[in-house]
């Protein structure tokens, strides 16, 4: 009875919270989508798609605190908008089919490596990475999502998540080493 009661409370509470989140941030999210899509209906559809994804798998969203929820939604809707733009313009994003091995995946950005570059320079370089890699890096390192959670949020495979993270980290490492 307790678990049923908690499930009921959690569900109704989540419904209210999600609805409130929409009320407070829909304008912002629409603006992000519109900045990519430049089409009113497409941008509204992107907002709708975001909340469909949040409602479909709400666990991660509700585990985040308020300001992190905003960041989470911002990144997701940007990705949704990029995907919609690519679909509209028949642009295909090709992910490599081979799996990244566990050894390769562990591209190490140790302190002594990161210590060789200033934060501003690192930031400037990250901004040059492909947007899809930047967003996976943000979800992983800033919002601390697991690969499975990122895959669910962006509607991509876990392999794609690992690849984007791998290439992002490898690019950062190469940039730092080649700066010398």
């Amino acid at each position: 009875m307790i678990s049923v009661a908690l499930a009921v409370l959690k569900t109704e509470g989540e419904q209210i919270e999600l609805s409130n989140f929409y009320s407070l941030y829909s304008k912002r999210l629409y603006a992000i989508a519109y900045s990519k899509l430049h089409d009113r209906q497409d941008a509204e559809d992107a907002v709708q798609e975001l909340f469909l994804r949040l409602a479909d798998k709400p666990e991660k969203f509700f585990s985040l605190v308020d300001n992190k929820r905003v960041a989470y939604a911002d990144v997701i809707i940007r990705n949704i908008s990029i995907d919609a733009f690519n679909a509209r313009n028949k642009v295909t994003v090709t992910e490599l089919s081979e799996e990244i091995s566990a050894d390769e995946f562990g591209v190490s950005l140790e302190d002594n490596v990161l210590g060789e570059i200033s934060k501003s320079e690192l930031l400037n370089f990250i901004e040059t990475l492909p947007q899809l890699q930047q967003d996976v890096l943000t979800l992983h390192s800033m919002l601390e999502l697991s690969n499975a959670e990122i895959a669910n949020s962006l509607h991509i495979s876990e392999i794609a998540v690992r690849q984007r993270l791998f290439f992002a980290r490898e690019s950062i490492l190469d940039y730092i080493k080649n700066r010398k």
Binding site: M1, E12, L18, N20, S23, F51, D56, L114, L123, S141
Partner: protein, 220 residues
Amino acid sequence: MSENIIKSVLEEKYFKEFDVYSNVPNHFFSFRHKRNMKAIFANTSAANGTITRVRFNKQFVTIMVAIIFLAVLSITAVAMAIAGFFTKEHSDNTELFAINYENAPMEIEDIYYISALPIGFEVYSKSETKISITTTYYNQSDDKYIVFSQHTKESFNAHIDNEHGEMTETTVNGYTGLYYADNAGLNILVWDDKDYIFKLSSELAKTETENLAKSTKLLK
């Protein structure tokens, strides 16, 4: 440590990119979109499986109180009380609970509302359970929202960002409360009138938000 450096850089990058969206032009969503969004929120509760109505009998209430009490006892982080709220500090947020709810209603018996709603605002949506009521008001010409919620003290729980602003103590109609502004530009007030906890989130200025809070009255 290296992950902290990356995290710090990514946070800076995020704010640099998305700060521009803190103040965005007005947009009036189409009727089709609003209809679809209502359907999404209506389906959220249904999509989570069978919902069984729970009777708030004495046994249920006793068990809920015991669960909450045990959860409070298991807290290892520094716990403090501020403005009548019990707080638990996490690394990036402060969790609020109500304290001293022994004599407070277990269900909402008296309903409160904002009596001095600014011109142009109308009720946009309302969600009501036995332990919380949330009303969203919307001004179509300004495209601004006000969200007002009332909670039983036992059920109240909120996470407040403590990284980008501070909570300050305030009073609303003689009752202690908390004020904070979140990083999306919302002014938020939370206060306790000994029976219920109220939360008001608004896109209006701080003074206007405070005046709205002060205008809350019992619905008769």
